[in-house]
Subunit: 173 residues, 2 copies
DNA sequence: TAACACGGTTCGGTGAATGAACTAACATGG
DNA sequence: CCATGTTAGTTCATTCACCGAACCGTGTTA
């Protein structure tokens, strides 16, 4: 997305995240990295992506702190790309998106299943409330403005409405 | 991303999902819809997106079953775009991505906080195991191939390795 | 010494994103 | 009755990103 054409002014963490992992191919690179792919050639063969694009995506992810480029042999010099702890935390978005795809777009049953090694159970991404211990549905969620919103000066109806607490799905304006 | 330039052959639900919601602006439209935005002009004012792009994105989302276009007044004829149940389920991917952005990219504290109305607690997206009731870390996850993978005929090293159970982050190949 | 493997970069062609201008249906105010 | 405004788009020329093919540099193997 880069350069002047970004999501600036959105005052939104989602927009910031999409700046980093919202470009074409990027999240599939992260998915492969979560599977354990590390080398340029393996990403390229598995994704069937133009080399120039892969090279640029890897550079972006390294710069964003999602991947680390690491020399693993000297002769010939070879680097591998491994996920940082920040990259590990993309697991949850990836799982949530993949599960949505399985549920609503897959035609012939799930492609890949994710299981808890310890007990063998199948994973589910959830929206969880640590305070009461419950799983929270969208209709029970309220958005509240946080300190990072202070710099927002947008004056459209939606921005104005979202500067006060707001129940999800309640019509705006 | 449409036309011939899609993620076909990826045999992956994530790739299918990105076909629908992976284009520039699309997930921000969904985010606004989750907040309760419904009208063309409100999306446009809040996102500051070219009208032509918004028009195309809304059409794609309607076609994918994420949004429903609904006539809400006859004179003058006005339509609104509301989320379907399929669209509601994008809440979890959106929350997971937004939280990742807050944690790793936000500079001045969180922009928006999501609370459970019933108890006031702050939400967290989690990777949950219904069998044992635990929250599962990436290192405890194993990928297993599912029935939807049968049609996959790719022969690269990564595809071959992922046709058997595989612990996440274990190096491939 | 030739061929090959790896990890890129360079380059021309194509399609998508962008902002500005235009359209069309209807409402409103004087 | 006419001018202006609102909403929801479409059209158009320009700019930009993606694409595949070719090329490059380093080091290794036959």
């Amino acid at each position: 997305m880069g350069l002047g054409k970004n999501y600036d002014g959105q005052s939104c963490a989602l927009a910031s995240a999409l700046e980093v992992i919202g470009e074409r191919w990027t999240l599939l690179v992260v998915r492969d990295a979560l599977y354990g792919v590390r080398r340029f050639g393996d990403f390229q063969a598995h994704l069937d992506i133009p080399k120039a694009v892969l090279s640029q995506r890897l550079a972006t992810l390294v710069e964003a702190g999602v991947l680390e480029r690491r020399r693993y042999q000297e002769t010939p010099p070879r680097d591998e790309y491994v996920l940082t702890p920040v990259g590990h935390e993309l697991w949850l978005p990836v799982l949530a998106l993949a599960q949505w795809g399985e549920r609503h777009l897959a035609t012939k049953g799930p492609h890949r299943l994710f299981h808890h090694v310890a007990c063998g159970g199948r994973l589910e991404p959830t929206s969880y409330c640590p305070t009461c211990g419950g799983i929270v549905k969208l209709e029970e969620v309220e958005m509240r403005p946080g300190p990072g919103l202070a710099a927002d000066t947008r004056q459209d109806q939606v921005s104005l409405a979202l500067r006060t607490p707001h129940r999800m799905l309640d019509p705006i304006p």
